[in-house]
Amino acid sequence: MSKTSLSQSKPDNLPKPKINWAKVEESEKFAEMVKLFRQGKINRDDFRRFRLQHGAYGSRMTDDYSMIRIKIPAGEVYPEQIEKIAELSESFSIGNAHVSTRQNFQLHWVALEDVSEVMRGLTEVGLTSREACGNTVRNVMCSPIAGVCPDEIFDPTPYAMAATRFLLRNPMNQSLPRKFKINFTCCEKHGMARIADIGLIPHKVEVNGKSQNGFKIFLGGGLGAQSFVGHHLEEFTSDEDLLYTIISVIRVYDRMGNRENMARNRMRYLVNELGWEKFQNIVLKERAVVRATQSVVIKLELDKTSEVLRKVSISSEMPSHPTGFPRWLKTNAVKQKQPGFSIAFLTLESGDVTANQLRIIADIAREFSAEGRIRNGFAQDIVFRWVRDEDLPKLYARLLEAGLANPGALTMASVIGCSGTTSCNLALTNSHRLAKEVQRKFLELKLDEDDDLRDSTIKISGCPNSCGQHEIATIGFYGGGGRLGKDMYPLYTMSLGGRADEKAMLGLICMKVPTKRVIPTIIKIVEIFKSEKRPGETLDSWVHRIIDGNGGPNVKSLNDIKELLKPVVVAPTIDQDKDFYVDYGNDGSYHAKTGRGECAA
């Protein structure tokens, strides 16, 4: 051994990834397939299917670059994995990674020829991009605060992990009519159970005096060009029935789902076409058959080992009074159910994070979190759990140094933006950048500190397909194009009142708002709300009061809001305001241009 090799000195009590999701031969196969494709020995459609199955999307206007989606089951990711993603993003992507709304990491603009190298790198740390795209079961989500949520009945994480383990590479779900999404949440408040193909909320009942773990299961929800809220399958699904239920739903969908019409082949359309009761019956019957005919008893492999928490010792220096700490504490941290520990949320602009920041995040996880890892959140964010309350000021100081201490994580200032025209073929507008602009404006105006806005959300999609989840936002936007005379300008359709919790509903379309008027429009809505609100009322509850028909004398309906906003959204002529006709991040005038969508391939 040469004396000149670097040995990394890291604490030895760090937790290691428990499950290796990777298979190295898949990267070799991918490299081989790219060569065959380039040589014209595989046709485009077959190659596209293969590519998507392995987690690589085409990029905007070109198949020569991919977006690689790295699956992070339950959002749980370890420091060495984060560091590897940082390294891969520098070597093969744009030196940045992106945290998606489904807890994945995404690397954009990777040369098709390098996808196999990224996959190879991922295998070194037990990660995979397999079945992150394509007509498969996508990343199984789980609330980022599961296990520490003050409102949860039990921690669903082991179930999410076990479900992933069962489904990943399972022949049963390699060629579904379309993608399939499973979301576990911790409780009714936090999560997306009602907008997934299968959504699950922990539930407990007494059976013969014995407490039995199980779930409330919701089926057939989902956002898209046409969105639906999921239906409650049955009062209680015991955890013993969980796997049978998942298998049955997937089998019914696989057998009966629409394989012809790409625009209507998500399971929610099947549920809608059959009607809920019929679909529900078919699933329950299927479950009885599955239960009875499995030749071996199959069970979810639940990891029941109890977590060992490390003793953390903080070596970071702390400035005596880090500026901005109270604001950050108020808007980015909450107490865990375990006394003495807090959860800290790190908000990223549209989910983007640099390689260097990822390395710092990995270090912070090692240093500050007693569980020594992080979770990706539901809001393109990153979550540190098991941070001792007294360490929060030091944590904040570390984040501040790295440019990661933006406040407002748990407020309306934390805006969702899909990738939009930065990389997506279907996008009509640069929703990604708009979300960043809105967030910056909110922080500049200190709206994150306003308790009246805290439980409200802004979510922005670059087209009607809902990747930015606009339909569950208090104020949601999806991109399109408008025209004044012969001149086109970018605009958004605005919806109000969406939410994903137990009162889940899709936002109601209010009006069209030109891109360059989105920020003034939001600010005007806040203004109207402030003048109309009743004591203790939040923006979200005010919007719902209006939707429910109980508005005040001045603003009775969404239509009244629309009237008040009309002066804000008037389109000037191109001679009056050239910038109005230009989308964010562009020099020239707006034109709507899209390529073939791959979500549906």
Binding site: S2, K3, T4, S5, L6, A31, V34, K35, R38, Q39, S59, R60, M61, T62, E87, E90, S91, F92, S93, I94, G95, N96, H98, H108, W109, A111, E113, D114, S116, E117, L348, E349, D352, V353, T354, Q357, S419, G420, T421, T422, S423, N430, H432, R433, K436, D583, Y584, G585, N586, K593
Partner: protein, 269 residues
């Protein structure tokens, strides 16, 4: 003797252990390509400071021969170059010496920063410089000019842009492929192990016998590293378009771009 020196030119990189032993034997000249003020704070023992800016001020072959001679480098002197800029600046100097006909030149396979992190010896002593004579035998086969590119490309040469991905997407020489310089390094070394570099090239369907021309943004540093990455895996016919994209652009030659996508807005910087 001739064969031996030929073999030595194949040594694209040298590791720290081998360099330390060569320094003890006094059989090598070491060039430090960092800025003078950094050099003065400490450098590899015996290293001569040759900031890249000095070279770029005048990189005409006659001037480069003068530099070599003043450093005590003759035609047979083994030379090792290093920097603290992931090997890119060192590569540009190495290539220039190679261009005037110097055969025995290697890149230190780590940066000075890593050298220090490893706790290896440094010095603030100025080196002894004895003047030597160096011949001028230009090697035009490792240089590409703007006029050369397109005809070569038509004959099958592969044009490699070593800038970062976003810069490449923004604009590049038509038909170029992108191998960002960051792809070339490993965690510790300025170049990845040979088998990895070979795989990256094979993945791109570039055959070992192809002619490859590397270029980057302005002065041929990142693409100098690209040049040596390809040399390190035994590719024979590699050229550096040393005036790179800056010249290409100023000559108003055709440019290609990835249109209709706002990729810059994905950056968190």
């Amino acid at each position: 003797m001739c064969c031996l020196s030929k073999e030595k030119t194949m040594r694209v990189t040298i590791d720290a252990d081998a360099l330390r032993s060569d320094i003890r034997d006094k059989s090598v000249k070491v060039l430090d390509i960092r800025k003078e003020e950094d050099y003065k704070q400490g450098h590899i023992p015996g290293a001569i400071n040759f900031p890249l800016s000095n070279l770029l001020a005048d990189d005409s072959p006659d001037k480069v021969v003068q530099y070599a001679q003043s450093f005590g480098i003759d035609d047979e002197t083994p030379v090792v170059v290093y920097d603290d800029t992931f090997g890119a600046l060192a590569s540009r100097v190495a290539w220039t010496l190679q261009y005037i006909g110097h055969e025995d030149i290697s890149l230190l396979d780590i940066t000075f920063g890593t050298w220090k992190k490893l706790g290896l010896e440094t010095s603030v002593e100025p080196p002894s410089l004895g003047k030597k004579t160096h011949s001028l035998k230009l090697q035009p086969e490792i240089l590409a000019t703007a006029e050369y590119l397109m005809p070569a490309k038509e004959k099958g040469a592969v044009l490699v842009d070593n800038r970062e991905r976003l810069n490449f997407l923004e604009h590049h020489i038509p038909g170029a492929i992108n191998i960002p310089y960051r792809m070339l390094a490993s965690n510790q070394n300025v170049l990845r192990p040979k088998e990895e570099l070979k795989r990256l090239i094979q993945n791109r369907n570039i055959s070992p016998g192809s002619e490859v021309i590397t270029y980057c943004g302005s002065v041929g540093t990142l693409s100098g590293l690209g040049y040596y990455a390809l040399k390190s895996i035994g590719m024979e016919n590699v050229k550096l378009y040393v005036r790179s994209f800056k010249e290409w652009n100023s000559l108003e030659k055709p440019i290609e771009k990835q249109n209709d996508a706002n990729y810059w807005d994905l950056s968190a910087e």
